[in-house]
Amino acid sequence: MEHYNMNLTLKVWRQKNNKAKGGFETYKLSDISSEMSFLEMVDVLNEQLIREGQDPIAFDHDCREGICGTCSMYIDGKPHGPWHANTTCQLHMRAYKDGDTITIEPWRANAFPVIKDLMVDRTSFDRIIQAGGFISVNTGNAVDANAIPINKDDADASFAAAACIGCGACVAACKNSSAMLFVSAKVSHLALLPQGQPEHKGRALNMIAQMDKEGFGSCTNTGACEAVCPKEISLENIARLNNEYLGAGLTVNN
């Protein structure tokens, strides 16, 4: 692909801290290379801000290779920007052309309070995982991986669900700020495997109880989460979570 440089206008949400009232700031950037990643472009802007003695924009990032789920920018109305099945860190500037204006906002949900600028607090996801997103195994030698035969289709579906990186784009995109796609991925990847069976009832019940406590909304199956998920987690997982939850809720004996 041909390389080119571009001048851009950025409208970025700035907010000093959780309590402060934020607002948009407009920045001009020149000579941005089409070969930069989106976050490198923000790095360039931050260096410019530091040189000018201003506060750089706070944003989350870690692996910058689309696997950790840390980056989280709501770019021109879409979590992780314009590309399909992509994270912010894997978005590249060739998606833009000279003269474009780009609006960047943080994830918006009361369960994801803004820490600063574009950084939000996603520890609510950690607490949901702690409530049941695990299996209990004894320590000691690793068990032989093929000790329990697993149907290939189930293994594949489980693996696809396990691809969720916990970024929270699903919540950011959902009109109800529902975390159901995330929770359904975390419930499904275990529920589909025999190893997940012993704890499957408590898992669904406890994770949903925690999800409700954190203030996420109810799922209304609009599908916005699936459309923006960088890992293409399917809505089918939400149906499976409903199934797991209802099955457990209607049959538990205490």
């Binding site: 948009f24 709501y74 879409k78 906002e105 949903i208 209304t220 149906a239 409903n242 809720g249």
Partner: protein, 232 residues
């Protein structure tokens, strides 16, 4: 887990919405089937609404449909109240909104507008119940003699009511709202009760679209044909 915890959890509330929704879908089949009897005059010129009046009579005649009717009103009310409660809760989860919206890039407009569409259907229902259910069950209607027996002339009532253009317009708005409410609601309710199987889900999706369109078209045809004199 207490029952109260189950039914007040986010999924429990949606479960109630889905079950009442499916119940109301079943009711629509009965309702549209029964009312389609007005079209009997297209096949039998001597009918003059007799088939429809008899069918409507049956719905109030013994305790089985009467009991179902009570269940129906309870189901509608539960669906409405639970729907508003969920809508309010869901709207409260994002205090600061976005400057640029995702909009139709992520979902269908009608999937995001179930509260609005439901409200339109609800407003329509108030007028509809006042126009037909109240006179037929409470305040009384003119009678007609079919095969030597007296029946409420609900058919005549329909023809009279549908002479006014504003009523026809209102019914068409009601039908359009119901169409989009069903297009989302039909498949969504089955997802909510936990249908995971892909083969069943695609069957449900196709059935849902066909059901929504056919049922709503039949309903819409009723005021239109009576207004235009296709059914006399």
């Amino acid at each position: 887990m207490k029952w109260s915890e189950f039914f007040t959890s986010s999924i429990g509330k949606k479960f109630v919405m889905a079950l009442t929704g499916i119940f109301l879908i079943l009711f629509l089949i009965v309702h549209v089937g029964l009312n389609a009897c007005i079209f009997a005059t297209w096949f039998d010129s001597e009918d003059h609404g007799a088939m429809f009046n008899k069918a409507a009579h049956f719905m109030g005649a013994n305790w089985v449909p009467r009991l179902l009717e009570i269940g129906l009103f309870a189901g509608i009310l539960l669906h409405i109240f639970q729907g508003y409660a969920l809508e309010m809760k869901n709207r409260s989860t994002r205090s600061v909104g976005y400057a640029v919206k995702l909009g139709n890039r992520g979902s269908k407009w009608y999937s995001r507008s179930m509260g609005l569409l439901g409200t339109l259907v609800f407003l329509f229902l108030i007028v509809h119940i006042a126009q037909f259910w109240v006179p037929s069950r409470i305040t009384g209607l003119e009678e007609t003699i079919i095969d030597g027996k007296p029946y409420h002339d609900l058919y005549r009532r329909m023809i009279e009511v549908f002479q006014q253009p504003w009523v026809v317009a209102l019914y068409l708005v009601g039908c359009a709202s119901l169409l989009f409410h069903l297009l989302h609601g039909f498949q969504s309710s089955f997802r909510t009760i936990g249908v995971v199987n892909k083969r069943y889900m695609s069957l449900i999706q196709a059935t849902g679209v066909a059901f929504s369109i056919i049922v709503v078209l039949l309903f819409a045809l009723m005021p239109i044909s009576m207004h235009l004199g296709w059914v006399k």
